[in-house]
Symmetry: C2
Subunit: 277 residues, 2 copies
């Protein structure tokens, strides 16, 4: 593992690291914020999964998570959104290939050789983090934005004992019924839609739900509402009697100005679930 950069930030350290991923068969880069409390011992960790076109960097510099994470004593990890590099398959569209991994293990060519973000976030990266940093991997929570909100919800429902709490900002809530989903799940997983089910938060919420609290924020003026389909997830959460809160935030759009506005709420929500406050 290589240290790309480390910057002092809110009395902690915002680091960027690169490692050879066996899961994705390429170098992968991630950001990790360690709060000041990590100097004294292991701290819990919040996963932040980013959206289409993002790298590890976008939320790290724009979402404003570090201020509150430093207060409560929580690390935040910012993974990349896909494998990358010259030898990695890509597509001319912004919403397929590099920058658009959709947090699945691809089974179809040309994607299946590298696009294994489900296992990368599900197994390889947490193993690496636990081994190399002062993190208490028994206390994890997860959030994300847009495609990353989809990833946070589906990964949490697929790894049931791992996260103490789950949240999402404007998630792609029902990809198997959306142009942000049908194209990608078809390309990565093939045309048999039965294989898509674990990667559709609405379908999973209907089928299994979560044993831990959920917080979802959605802007009422989001320019992608037709693609995100928040109403499907809200209905599924209510029908399941899912412990959680779905908030429609009046006037907010899909940008990081929306994410940063409510980031403190999400960090505090996870801190409470992790026993930090």
């Amino acid at each position: 593992m290589e240290t790309v950069s480390e910057n002092r930030c809110f009395d902690g350290t915002q680091g960027v690291y690169r490692h050879a991923s066996r899961t994705c068969d390429c170098d992968m880069t991630f950001g990790l914020f360690l709060p000041p409390q990590a100097k004294e011992g292991d701290v819990p960790v919040l996963w932040y999964l980013s959206g289409l076109t993002c790298t590890h960097e976008n939320a790290m510099v724009k979402a404003g998570a570090q201020a509150v994470a430093a207060q409560v004593g929580m690390a935040v990890v910012f993974p990349d959104t896909s494998p990358r590099g010259d030898g990695v398959a890509d597509d001319a569209a912004y919403d397929l290939g590099q920058g658009a991994g959709f947090y699945v293990n691809a089974t179809q060519a040309p994607w299946s050789s590298h696009f294994r973000m489900w296992d990368y976030i599900g197994a390889e990266l947490p193993d690496l983090l636990g081994a190399r940093f002062p993190l208490d991997m028994k206390r994890q929570a997860i959030t994300g934005h847009s495609m990353g909100g989809h990833g946070a919800l589906t990964l949490a429902m697929g790894h049931r004992d791992r996260f103490a709490s789950v949240s999402a900002f404007a998630p792609i809530a029902h990809p198997s019924a959306s142009d942000w989903g049908r194209k990608q799940l078809g390309a990565y997983l093939g045309s048999d839609e039965a294989g898509w089910t674990p990667h559709d938060a609405t379908l999973q919420m209907r089928a299994v739900g979560l044993d831990v609290p959920v917080l979802v924020d959605q802007g009422s003026e989001d320019q992608f509402l037709d693609l995100l389909k928040p109403e499907a997830l809200a209905e599924a959460m209510a029908a399941r009697r899912q412990h959680g809160v779905f908030r429609m935030q009046k006037g907010y759009d899909h940008s990081y100005f929306f994410v940063s506005t409510f980031m403190a709420d999400h960090v505090v929500f996870h801190a409470e679930a992790l026993g930090l406050s």
Copy 2:
């Protein structure tokens, strides 16, 4: 004036606007955050001047000023750092020409036809803001980072009744004695160094100082300490008995991770001077 974008942010509005500047003789773009209190009446305004290579956008998305500005009821304006466009002179170096206006009125060709940032920040943009937005232009404060910290300090010392308070993050503190300064002041203002004096914060601090409080933050691990010369400004502030605080922040570098860490302190400092808290 054209609205480029408006995003809801911390219950206020983060806008980006473009206008034909007569001072710079080109289109200029700026960001303006209006806090929720601006719906009820005019609010005070904090100027944030950015550093080398930045546009209006960098601090707007990375410095984290909006959260606290919304709490205290302060607008924040993010001007660009220079004139721009195909018809505007430029240089291959990152630290001269577009993105590097140094907040002066150039007198030398080829810069003198557009590079008039001193008058743009000093007169044209405040006039426009006061006319078009719910801002109380009798209550202004100013801050900035690196080249923008230089601009904040020198503009404040050159417009003595305008700002209630002045702050800076890692300012270029003594440009007439630095490679971040001698090249640019020479190019823009000519080789007669007497003309540089109004644009050197240390020289101005020695000569005239400020009648209002000053807050300066500087990271001890800043990779540009030799160019910034904070010791010259610290000495000049102390020698003048300047009302203010100079803080050396252990472990911090020159990045926005440093700026965002201490942004809340600066906003609160200005809010107190503006009578907001």
